[in-house]
């Protein structure tokens, strides 16, 4: 890949961060921290990895992306708007009555959204069903699911891990946005999940660990996932919660139900390069 492609990705990611802050400010609530941590992963998926566009969004052969950590939907909405699924005007309607952008993803209301996620653990299982369905139908498309690290507390995740490995779903890639924080606090203070890598390996998954903000490492991981046969792949992406907005980084309160106000807002807008709320 040429350097300019990485530059394009960096630009795309910067646009997503800007959109996340805009949406967050319009809504007055939302989950900025976990939306900012997965921006590079989502940028890669929508720009380079997936066969998914406004042209084929109803085609059975399309690739599927399931945001299992549905509270981070600001990043998904930002990417979908960037790719033309709806106008950025819709950002103003996030979490508002009558709007197309719900507080958590809704496939019936928002073009480009594949699943009604937000109840943790369910998106992962849904993605496994999509992958199994593709295999049964003899289709070559792939399924991607983005999980939160806190989401791994859910027992359903481990039911799904057993199922995915048993069914040899090598057309499925799950990514853990491992930003180390969950709703209330650091994972380590809630329910310890380490050793995460060993856990997924023991459950029969092909495991790759990367820096989730580094496009070269992201590219390498998804390339290796494509080459894998007989096993589903789990990418553990180390990330920073609130990435890109200095005072949000690694601060638990920016997990959810907050939006920057006053000087915080000015600072966030300046840091993401946003001149005004569109």
């Amino acid at each position: 890949m040429s350097v300019s492609k990485y530059d394009e990705l960096e630009k795309f990611a910067a646009e997503l961060r800007k959109s996340i802050i805009i949406m967050n400010c319009h809504a007055g609530s939302g989950h900025p921290g976990g939306s900012l941590s997965c921006v590079e992963i989502i940028s890669w998926l929508y720009c380079n990895e997936m066969n998914y566009s406004t042209e084929n969004m109803n085609d059975p052969e399309r690739d599927r992306f399931i945001l299992s950590k549905g509270h981070s939907c600001l990043s998904l909405y930002a990417a979908l708007a960037e790719k033309g699924f709806f106008s950025k005007e819709a950002f103003k309607t996030l979490r508002h009555a009558g709007g197309i952008l719900q507080g958590h993803p809704d496939r019936l209301k928002t073009p480009g959204v594949e699943f009604n996620s937000g109840s943790l653990g369910q998106g992962f299982s849904f993605a496994l069903g999509c992958a199994l369905g593709a295999k049964r139908a003899g289709r070559k498309n792939r399924t991607y699911a983005l999980l939160g690290d806190g989401e791994l507390n859910e027992g359903q995740i481990w039911e799904g891990c057993m199922f995915g490995a048993h069914q040899k779903l090598d057309n499925m890639v799950a990514i853990v946005d491992y930003n180390k924080f969950q709703s209330d606090d650091l994972n380590t203070n809630i329910t310890a999940i380490e050793p995460m890598n060993d856990k997924f390996k023991a459950f029969g998954w092909h495991v790759i660990e990367i820096d989730g903000h580094n496009f070269r490492e992201i590219e390498n991981a998804f390339t290796r996932a494509r080459a894998m046969t007989g096993k589903p792949t789990m990418i553990i992406a180390h990330t920073i919660k609130g990435k890109g907005i200095s005072y949000m980084e690694n601060v638990p309160k920016w997990h959810g139900s907050l939006c920057p106000t006053g000087k915080e807002r000015e600072c966030a807008m300046r840091e993401c390069g946003c001149e005004e709320l569109i």
Binding site: F115, N116, G129, A137, F163
Partner: protein, 310 residues
């Protein structure tokens, strides 16, 4: 007299020969639900999900998204409680075409005891938007309902019992789906029954006829959408209603009928149901006696309802 689980397994197998648009999902209870018949005949269309109902339900939604109709099977207590949030959020809310087929209803489960008896499933499933609920009364109705379910898109909860049930219908019965079915006409009261209680209602009506009480009997297989017109018509024309179900008295058939009657045409309603307690181990017939679900109990309830007529 055929066992409902055998009837279920066999009808799945027969349908599979005619159409390839569905698969059967199991949570390690194929022996209990009767799907082992299907597994033997169509192993490639049988998906073993293990004892992991939550994953099975959400995963089924993913399969449905891929254009396959998943028939998710497990015991009613797990379908209606362990995996209910998955049924709501993964299946009903996004409107996926998943058929949830639950066996082992109510006290009819018998010796396994309270942890395996589902006395709450009607209340739970009928409160979920977009979800239909149907509970056939005998193997003939079960076989009739299955092709209809596959031909009509949308999330649905199918309740099947465990015990052998006497046939209420003959093989030539024509079923009008979504309608309460008049099994017998009557003028003094209407008995509305579901599932295992339908044949008991017929026995009770015979006893009451000898006393000079003429009962209309409605088979209420469709719990949601419920045939409201038939309920209101019964209230108007017979003036008294008795509901019969192997379910908690709260939130089930009785509760649903009371909602409609109170809104549409007030009339006395008596409920023959489990009186808000957990069951215990025992043979189904013994439990039905202990918890008040026998024909005698229906007879008493009808007498009371008639005496309360407005």
């Amino acid at each position: 007299m055929e066992n409902m689980r055998d009837a279920f397994g066999k009808v799945l197998t027969e349908l599979a020969a005619e159409r390839d648009d569905f698969v059967v999902l199991d949570a390690d209870v194929a022996g209990g639900t009767g799907t082992y018949h299907f597994r033997e005949a169509y192993p490639d269309r049988f998906i073993q999900c293990g004892i992991a109902e939550q994953n099975m339900f959400s995963m089924a939604a993913g399969l449905a998204e891929s254009g396959i109709i998943p028939i998710v099977t497990c015991y009613a207590v797990f379908a209606s409680m362990r995996a209910i949030e998955q049924a709501r959020n993964s299946i009903a809310y996004p409107e996926f075409n998943v058929k949830i087929a639950a066996s082992h209803l109510g006290l009819d489960v018998g010796p396994d005891g309270a942890t395996h008896q589902a006395l709450e499933d009607i209340a739970i499933y009928r409160s979920i938007p977009k979800m239909s609920v149907v509970s056939p009364a005998d193997p003939i109705e079960l076989k009739a309902v299955m092709p209809y379910l596959l031909d009509n898109t949308g999330p649905l909860y199918l309740r099947t019992g465990r015990s052998p049930l006497p046939n209420v219908f003959d093989e030539n019965t024509i079923f009008e789906h979504g309608k309460a079915q008049v099994l017998r006409e009557g003028t003094d009261a209407t008995i509305m029954a579901v599932g295992v209680m339908v044949h008991r209602a017929l026995i009770a009506a015979d006893v009451l006829a000898k006393e000079g009480i003429s009962c209309r009997i409605l088979n209420m297989s469709w719990l949601k959408p419920m045939d409201e017109a038939a309920v209101i018509k019964a209230a108007k024309e017979t003036g008294a209603i008795v509901t019969c179900e192997d379910h908690n008295k709260y939130g089930g058939l009785g509760g649903a009928v009371m909602e409609i009657v109170c809104e549409g045409c007030p009339a006395p309603v008596e409920r023959v149901a489990v009186n808000d307690i957990f069951g215990a181990s025992g043979e189904p017939e013994d439990l039905a006696k202990e918890y008040g679900l026998m024909p005698d109990d229906i007879v008493k309830a009808v007498r009371k309802a008639v005496s309360r007529k407005l």
